[in-house]
Structure formats: structure tokens, C-alpha cells
């Protein structure tokens, strides 16, 4: 940009000669305020009693920014939502919210939201009216119903009543094909946990543990339920302070907070877990293991484990002794530890350790069976997406609801090419992303702050919990049909029985009414808690105890549930049973051509890439490196020296299935045989996302977890090829060296001492 050079003198001269200039200047800096007579003040036509201009109203609803489904309070003024906070009544997040949750507001007001449906005409997506779009959609559906085998529906993890309607749609059409895809799937963890404990989601009580040993589970980052575990972690670290040990090839946010961080060789976590199990089992005769297991464990002796994992025997012994001293403990596995070929075995090994340490029913509990079994969230997986890609050539019609697989799936699945062959691809999306761009029909969605819904979170500290979602303001695009209403309309077309519900609101409300009796205060183990904030503020909560004697029972129950933003039903806590299983892991054979393991790690921010178009989150520095608006490849300084590259150099990262170019960031918190690249960048669509960084998932090789068939996200081997190019990385932090100025005194410790019963300092 260039400006005409107007210096101060010239400026003053100009002002002096021009009388009008003087007048205008004084107007600008003086007494008159800026907008009188230029701004319009709109009055209400016929307002609700509780709407007071200038006064805020808080509505309870549910966060949709990640699968954790935290409770929200939305601050609304003059009919516009202005701020989101956590709902203190929700046992998931206890009134807190993460940065992604806060950015839900930006998604709601995003300038990229699609204002009207789009249809492919002359091979170009063009705006059409809602009537045209609906007619086309109904026609497509009628055709699909004629040939159900050639219809499929793909969605992200939806849960609640919407999930129920989607299942109903697929069933009514008669097709077998409902696919649920989640790029950061917990499928391996859930399925191995189911096989070990008989339930998919036990309650993990960090706060009760003296020590947490986590194999790659970044529970302070995006693992399972970020805000919930952050609160648990806070309690875990208050007196008596629990100790945290993190074992992982690349330092995660949780690793950065640990008392002891162990950089393990990538893809070998299961060996360490079984080595520890062997050490503990051979010393603790109180817990008898079946012979087959003891024999199988014998091969994981400390020396071979040390060699494979690249951890000193001394560290492994210290780890075992720390686990013995500090009980109860909690052993977790996730991220790079379970995204392996032997991922299920890793999770099973973590349960075996918990079993040997007597943690079951202490730090891991069974919160009882969910009363909302039919509304539970179906766990998504990449395996489902792979099945879909195999099914695609046989499809005529594919509905894709709130999922962007063309961006988030590896290239080897060739989804874009597959989609081209499907005759009718209908994408339900709020912005035009990489998948919607290939659609034949794009149906714009309302934001989650504009529609009704419900959610039974996959991980919940309380099994009897249903999170309710309500519209907190009128739709910004009033013609947009809410997802639930649209599904009901489609179902009604196929089955007139669905006519009984005039809209999705009625559907949710009628369905939840059946829990009314269970929700009676006298049936609650703890009396019903009144929500902290009522909506509207002048609304006097009808005390349920009194309401039960009146005709307004339903209304009272419903008002109460909506105001609370959740429904909590009593569950029966049960004790856990575990059948230890014989471990069977196979060593990973090293390929000299591809000497590094690629770790495409998610962050609390862009997550799996779904938030890349939110500039707030792009602007939020990475919690470890403080880099913004970019992609980078973390490698160990030793590796960098060996490859003769340094921070800022651009390298090519090549796998058997493709390559990407990315800037190097030298980082001490990574094993020398690993290279880590954050997920989430590398979009081709979105005003804030397009053209920023690279997507490491694209070059993943087709390596699958042995038991579940799920994509092993952290098992791709790559080579690093220097190029001669260079660029700078924009980051908030300056240097991580003190340049010999000794601003902060540090000492080196060999390894922390966990032998005290309390506290871990050494």
C-alpha cells in the first residue's frame, strides 16, 4: 500500500485554508456524537413479555463443536446471541467451555454460510429456491425408495433424536446403508474397552487417582471430552496432588503438563504396557492371572522392552515402582498409542494394567446402564467410510449430512472420484466445503444455535444424562429448514405415520415425555437441582413437587428440562468385571526407505479441520509451539542436524501414498524417529481456511487396526526430503533459549522420584 506523503505542515495548511475542513474536523473530535439521525432504532412490533431491550436473557443449550456435547448457556440480547458460556448444571463441563466452544458463535454468524440451496445445473452449482430444492430432494428420495440397495446415508456423529430419525429414514427406505464417519474416531478404544469390561464407556475418575499414567491419551487436548477432563485434572492436581506420567512419541498438551514425560519410540507403546504388566504381575502374586496370560507376558522382559521402546531399563523400573507405590492409579491409552495396527491390544494392555493395580471400581467405575439407550450416539469410524467408498460404485443416491470426508479422508480412499460416479449426491452443510462442492444438491443447514436437538454424549460422567439443544434465536436465514423438520418431511413422504408430529420440536418433546415419571424428584437419588439460570429470567420455576398434583405436569417437566438444558435420570451404579485376555502383538518391521513415523496430531482449536474456517481459532496460537495460521513439521533437533535442515526450511514429507511440503519446526519434545504435523489445515474452500498449510492425513497409507479394521492414524511411515526452499513461521513466542542470560534458573533432573506417598517433586 502506498500513501501520498502529506506531512504535518501540509495537513495544517490544508486545514487552515479550508473553512469547511475546519468545521468538519471540529465536528469529528468535538461534542457531537457520531450517529445521530443516521442510525435507525427499530422497535418491536408485539414483543414477548420477557424481552427487554438492553437486558440479556440466557438460554441453556448444547455445544456442537466436538462430540463431547458440553452444556451451553447462550447470552441473547435484542434477539441476537452474543456470547456462549458453559452451563454450570451440566456434569460434563460444569460451567466451563473450551475455545472451540466459544467459537461456535463465529460459526453461527459466519459470512460463508450458504444463504440458499444450490443445485448442479450445467455442471455448476447454482442457487435455487427452497421450493425447487425440496421438489428435487423429494424426487431423489422417491427414486431411492424404489431401489433401496442403491441408497446410502453418511453422517458425522449425530446422536439423540436426529440419529433416531436418520436410522428411521434408512430403514423406511429399506436400505442397509447408514455410515457414520468421524475422523478422530474413538472406535478402537470403545471396541477394545467393550471387549475388556463389557461396556464401551466406563467412567474415568482422574480426581480419585494418586497417579495417572497415560499412553498418548491427550485428555487435556481433544481426547474424548476436553473440558470435562480438564476439570477432573484440576481436582486431581489439588492436595493430595496426583502425579502425571505421559508416555508418547510427541509431546502433547497433556505431556507438557506431566511430571514426567517419556519419549517412546513410535508404534511401540503396547510393548511398554505389556512390559510393565509383566513386571507388576511377577511381583504381585495377590492377583492371579491365568497361566496363558502369564506365559504370554513372559516374553515382554525388561531388556527387550527397553530395546524396542528406546527407553532405558532404569526408567521402566522407576515407572513400575511408581505405579506400585501410588495407588489407586489410572492407566489411559489413546492418540498415537491406540491408532496403531495393534491399537486394540494397546487398549487391552492398559485395562490389564488397571486390573493388576486394582484400579477397577476405584478410579474406573461403571456408572450404570443408560436410560437413553436408543438415543445414544453411534461412534463413527474411518472403517465406515472405507466401506462406503467400496459401496459407492453401486450407489445411485448418497446423502451426506454434516461431514466433510473429501477433505478429512486420506487420498487412498479416492472419495472425490467415487462421489463423481454417484448420480445424486445430496450434501447437507452450512458452508460450501470440499465435499459440498462436489454435490449435485446442497441443502443449507441451520446453525446449532437455531434448532432443536438432543445429544447423549459418547463419554459422559453420568450415564443418565441427555443434553438438550434449543434454538436460542430466530434463524438468520429464516427459510432454512431445521434438520429435524426436514428429516420428518422426508419420512412423511415415505410413511404417513410420521404425520403425527407436526415438527421436530413436537417429536423431541413427545419422546422425552416418557421419561417424566423417572424424572420425578422422589425417584431421584439426589433431589432435582434447579438450574442455575432460568429462561426467561422472569420465569418462576414451577416446583415439580407442587406441580405433580396439577394438570400442568407435562408443561412443568418440559419447562424445567428446557430451562436446565439437560435431563438427568437416576442410574444404578454397578461393579466392573474384567476378563484379562492373552495379549498378541506383533513388532512393526522397520522400512529403511521410510525411516520416520508420521504423527498427524489434532489440536484443541482446528480439531480435525472442521474449525479451520473460523478465524478466531486460526488466530489462536498452538498451545505448544505458539504457531498461528500455518502447518509445520515437528522434528527432533538431532534429526534436523542429521538431515541438515533447520526451523523454517521447507521439506517434502513422502509416504507410499503421496507427499506434502511443509516447514520444519525443531522441537525437543519429539522422538527422533517421529515427525509430527498438526491436523486441520490444507483446505481448498473457506475464506479463512483455503490455501493455509497442508493436510497430513492426505498422505496416510492404508494401514488398519487388526481387530476393528479402523484406520491406524499414527502408523504411516514417511521419509523427509529436504528442498532448498525456506519460509518463516509466524509464532507468538520468541525464542525458547535464554541466550545465556539466565533469566530463569533451571536444573536438570534425571528422573522424578515418585516414591513418596504424596507429591512427586524431586
Amino acid at each position: 500500500m502506498s500513501f501520498d506523503p502529506v506531512n504535518r505542515r501540509t495537513f495544517l495548511k490544508l486545514m487552515g485554508v479550508s473553512g469547511s475542513g475546519l468545521f468538519l474536523t471540529l465536528q469529528g473530535c468535538g461534542n457531537a456524537s457520531l450517529e445521530e439521525g443516521r442510525e435507525t432504532v427499530m422497535s418491536y412490533i408485539d414483543p414477548e413479555d420477557f424481552v427487554i431491550p438492553g437486558e440479556e436473557v440466557w438460554y441453556a443449550t448444547t455445544c456442537h463443536q466436538c462430540p463431547a456435547a458440553c452444556g451451553l448457556h447462550a447470552r441473547v440480547r435484542e434477539g441476537r446471541v452474543r456470547k456462549l458460556e458453559g452451563n454450570p448444571a451440566s456434569p460434563i463441563n460444569h460451567g466451563r467451555l473450551c475455545a472451540m466452544g466459544q467459537a461456535g458463535l463465529q460459526l453461527h454468524y459466519h459470512p460463508d454460510r450458504i444463504p440458499q440451496p444450490l443445485a448442479r445445473i450445467d455442471n455448476r452449482l447454482q442457487p435455487v429456491s427452497w421450493d425447487q430444492a425440496k421438489t428435487r430432494l423429494h424426487k431423489i428420495l422417491a427414486k431411492a425408495a424404489e431401489n433401496p440397495q442403491r441408497f446410502a446415508l453418511l453422517s458425522g456423529e449425530v446422536g439423540g433424536h436426529l440419529e433416531k430419525l436418520m436410522d428411521a429414514l434408512v430403514q423406511t427406505i429399506g436400505g442397509p446403508s447408514r455410515y457414520v464417519y468421524e475422523p478422530l474416531s474413538q472406535k478402537i478404544w470403545h471396541s477394545a474397552t467393550q471387549s475388556a469390561l463389557g461396556i464401551t464407556s466406563p467412567r474415568l475418575q482422574l480426581a480419585q487417582a494418586q497417579m495417572v499414567l497415560s499412553f498418548g491419551a491427550d485428555f487435556l487436548g481433544p481426547w474424548q471430552s476436553a473440558v470435562h477432563f480438564a476439570a477432573e485434572y484440576g481436582r486431581f492436581r489439588t492436595e493430595p496432588r496426583g502425579s502425571l506420567i505421559q508416555v508418547e512419541p510427541r509431546m502433547s498438551l497433556t505431556g507438557a503438563n506431566a511430571d514426567w514425560w517419556l519419549p517412546i519410540r513410535p508404534q511401540t507403546e503396547a510393548w511398554l504396557a505389556l512390559g510393565l504388566a509383566h513386571l507388576l504381575a511377577s511381583e504381585n502374586k495377590a492377583i492371579a492371572l491365568p497361566d496363558a496370560i502369564s506365559q504370554a507376558l513372559a516374553q515382554y522382559d525388561i531388556d527387550s522392552v527397553s530395546k524396542i521402546t528406546d527407553l532405558p531399563t532404569d526408567s521402566i523400573r522407576r515407572l513400575a515402582s511408581a505405579l506400585r507405590t501410588r495407588t489407586p492409579s489410572l492407566i489411559l491409552a489413546g492418540g498415537p498409542a491406540d491408532g496403531q495396527v495393534d491399537g486394540s491390544q494397546m487398549v487391552l494392555a492398559s485395562w490389564l494394567l488397571n486390573y493388576l493395580l486394582g484400579n477397577l471400581d476405584k478410579t474406573i467405575t461403571h456408572a450404570g446402564d443408560s436410560p437413553f439407550a436408543e438415543l445414544e450416539t453411534r461412534i463413527g469410524s474411518t472403517a465406515a467410510l472405507q466401506k462406503l467408498s467400496e459401496h459407492m460404485p453401486a450407489l445411485d443416491t448418497l446423502f451426506i449430512y454434516q461431514s466433510n470426508p473429501v477433505y478429512s479422508a486420506p487420498d487412498f480412499l479416492q472419495l472425490a472420484a467415487g462421489l463423481e460416479k454417484v448420480r445424486n449426491t445430496v450434501v447437507f452443510a452450512s458452508t460450501l466445503d470440499e465435499t459440498a462442492e462436489l454435490a449435485d444438491l446442497v441443502i443449507p443447514l441451520r446453525s446449532s444455535l437455531e434448532e432443536w436437538g438432543s445429544r447423549v454424549p459418547a463419554y459422559s460422567p453420568d450415564q443418565g444424562l441427555l443434553q438438550l439443544q434449543q434454538p436460542v434465536m430466530q434463524a438468520l436465514y429464516p427459510q432454512h429448514v431445521a434438520s429435524g423438520d426436514l428429516l420428518l418431511q422426508l419420512l412423511t413422504q415415505l410413511d404417513k405415520a410420521y404425520q403425527q408430529w407436526p415438527d421436530f420440536y413436537a417429536y423431541v418433546r413427545t419422546d422425552l415425555m416418557k421419561y417424566r415419571e423417572q424424572a420425578r424428584p422422589d425417584k431421584q437419588p439426589n433431589p432435582w437441582k434447579l438450574p442455575a439460570v432460568m429462561t426467561p429470567p422472569t420465569y418462576k420455576p414451577v416446583m415439580l413437587e407442587q406441580a405433580f398434583s396439577t394438570d400442568q405436569l407435562d408443561e412443568a417437566f418440559w419447562e424445567h428440562t428446557v430451562a436446565a438444558g439437560l435431563l438427568q435420570l437416576p442410574t444404578q451404579q454397578r461393579s466392573l468385571r474384567m476378563q484379562p485376555q492373552v495379549p498378541t502383538i506383533k513388532p512393526v518391521t522397520a522400512d529403511q526407505n521410510f525411516p520416520f513415523t508420521l504423527i498427524p496430531f489434532p489440536q484443541l482449536g482446528l480439531y480435525d479441520g472442521r474449525h479451520a474456517n473460523l478465524s478466531w481459532l486460526q488466530e489462536m496460537p498452538d498451545q505448544i509451539t505458539t504457531i498461528v495460521w500455518d502447518s509445520w513439521a515437528e522434528i527432533h533437533p538431532e534429526t534436523a542436524a542429521r538431515l541438515k535442515v533447520k526451523t523454517g526450511d521447507i521439506v517434502e514429507i513422502r509416504s507410499t501414498h503421496g507427499s506434502i511440503k511443509v516447514k520444519i519446526f525443531e522441537f525437543n519434545g519429539i522422538h527422533p524417529e517421529a515427525v509430527a504435523i498438526p491436523m486441520g489445515q490444507g483446505h481448498s474452500r473457506g475464506r479463512y481456511a483455503a490455501g493455509v498449510g497442508v493436510n497430513p492425513v492426505k498422505i496416510l497409507a492404508p494401514v488398519f487396526e487388526r481387530d476393528t479394521g479402523e484406520l491406524a492414524l499414527y502408523a504411516t511411515r514417511v521419509q523427509i526430503n529436504p528442498t532448498r526452499e525456506q519460509d518463516s513461521l509466524v509464532k507468538l513466542a520468541g525464542s525458547d533459549s535464554q541466550h545465556k542470560r539466565r533469566l530463569v534458573r533451571t536444573i536438570n533432573i534425571k528422573a522424578p522420584d515418585f516414591s513418596h506417598p504424596e507429591g512427586s517433586a524431586s
Binding site: 461534542n31 456524537s33 439521525g37 443516521r38 435507525t40 432504532v41 427499530m42 418491536y44 427487554i52
Partner: protein, 242 residues
């Protein structure tokens, strides 16, 4: 803005019956007049103030007809009847269309302005009123505090309390800005209450209006046992610049 446009500036003395109105053609006015404007802009010149033009409104709403005393061809409607949010919110609010129509379904239906109003109502469209009193976005002002303090706790007349800042609306048709609403002007009251008893504002001699409504003291004697003690007006920066 066109530098040669004719800008009308109205100079009004609020406390006297006589109004002085000067029309200045900005494009051609003399150095003396420029100096005059300079002085006007940098001083709080009381009782006379420089005022913005009362903006043209979609309907020429007659405040005088609504608020004047009945013996003066008015209807003596309390300000808080229409601007009902003033006592419970930071903003006073513009009356809702439903409220206007509550009377005007029956009252003065033959008048052009009421027919205009009815058309908005029938179309379900809000009236795009122009904002007359505007504060910069970095100022947090609350009507509620002021109305609660002066009207409900001190029992002053509503017309007088609103009039401190808005002038004597019973002398206006569409609303006009009669006070500068600058920081120095606000502080005239706010500084006074730092040392002296919490009382009526001292500049009231300048800002006094002949209120026609009854003081609430008469109808609603202050319940001193339950009333919150009167607070001194704050003068910390953060109270208004949050």
C-alpha cells in the same frame, strides 16, 4: 459529505421561551463565524447549546400532544408509559407498535399520521425511527440507574428527571437533542456528588423544566425502611468506560 452543503445549526436556549435559530451556510461563512463554531465546539456553553438537527422521522411524532398537560391541549402521558424499559434496562426503548395501536385503534384514526402508523401495523413492519440521542460505543450509560435513583428513590417528577438529559419534550414534536451529552456535561452532576450530599443535581437551575406531572413523592412516599441508601454518583473512569 459535500463540503459545500448547507448545514443548518440551530442554537436554542432551553430555559427561555424565546428560541434563537441561526442558519449558517458553511460553504461561505466568515472567519468570525468559524471562530464562533470553534468556541461552541470546545465549551459547554450553558444554557445555550449547539445542537444537531432534529432528524427527519418516518412519522412526525408529536411529543407535545402526548405529554403536555391536559389543560394545555395535551394528554399528560407519563414518559415511562411509552418508554417503559427506562426503569429496568440500560436503554429506554422505543414503544412497541402494539402499544401505539393499543390507543390508536380508536384514537385519532382520521389523522394522516395515525393512518401511516396503522399501515406499518397492518404490514407487520417496525417503524424505522431515527436515533436522536446517541452515545459513542465506548460509553456505558444506563437509564435504569438514573430513573431508579431520581424517580423512585428521590420521588422527583418523571418529566423533570427525563428532562435533565432530554430537555423539555413537551415543547417538541419529534425528539430533538437539547443537551450535548458530552463527558464534561455528564461530570457536571457526577462531580458535584463526590463531596456534597446526594441531592438533586446542582445544574438543575439551568436544566429545570416546568414539569406538569405530579411528583411521585405525593403518590408514592418513599419507603425509607426498605429503600437502598442513595449512592453518590460515581466518577471513576471505569463506571462509564467498561
Amino acid at each position: 459529505m459535500d463540503a459545500h452543503a448547507s448545514v443548518r445549526v440551530r442554537i436554542v436556549s432551553d430555559s427561555s421561551a424565546s428560541r434563537v435559530t441561526a442558519y449558517l451556510n458553511v460553504g461561505r461563512f466568515s472567519t468570525d463565524l468559524r471562530l464562533l463554531i470553534l468556541v461552541l465546539c470546545f465549551t459547554s456553553w450553558s444554557p445555550q447549546q449547539v445542537l444537531a438537527e432534529a432528524p427527519a422521522q418516518p412519522i412526525e411524532f408529536p411529543h407535545d400532544v402526548h405529554t403536555n398537560a391536559e389543560d394545555n391541549a395535551g394528554n399528560a402521558i407519563n414518559c415511562l408509559y411509552c418508554h417503559s424499559y427506562a426503569r429496568r434496562s440500560s436503554v429506554a426503548g422505543i414503544p412497541t407498535l402494539a402499544k401505539c395501536m393499543g390507543c390508536h385503534r380508536y384514537v385519532a384514526t382520521d389523522k394522516e399520521r395515525i393512518q401511516q402508523l396503522t399501515r406499518y401495523w397492518e404490514q407487520g413492519k417496525p417503524i424505522p425511527w431515527k436515533k436522536v440521542h446517541d452515545l459513542p460505543d465506548f460509553v456505558y450509560f444506563t437509564h435504569e440507574r438514573h430513573v431508579q435513583h431520581f424517580v423512585f428513590q428521590q420521588g422527583q417528577s418523571v418529566q423533570q428527571v427525563c428532562g435533565y438529559c432530554h430537555g423539555d419534550v413537551k415543547t417538541m414534536t419529534v425528539a430533538e437533542k437539547r443537551r450535548p451529552l458530552t463527558m464534561g456535561w455528564c461530570l457536571k452532576c457526577h462531580q458535584q456528588f463526590q463531596d456534597n450530599p446526594v441531592d438533586v443535581p446542582r445544574p438543575v437551575a439551568d436544566w429545570h423544566i416546568n414539569a406538569t406531572d405530579q411528583s411521585l413523592k405525593a403518590v408514592m412516599p418513599a419507603d425509607t425502611a426498605h429503600a437502598e441508601p442513595l449512592r453518590k454518583a460515581p466518577s471513576d473512569c471505569w463506571e462509564c468506560h467498561k
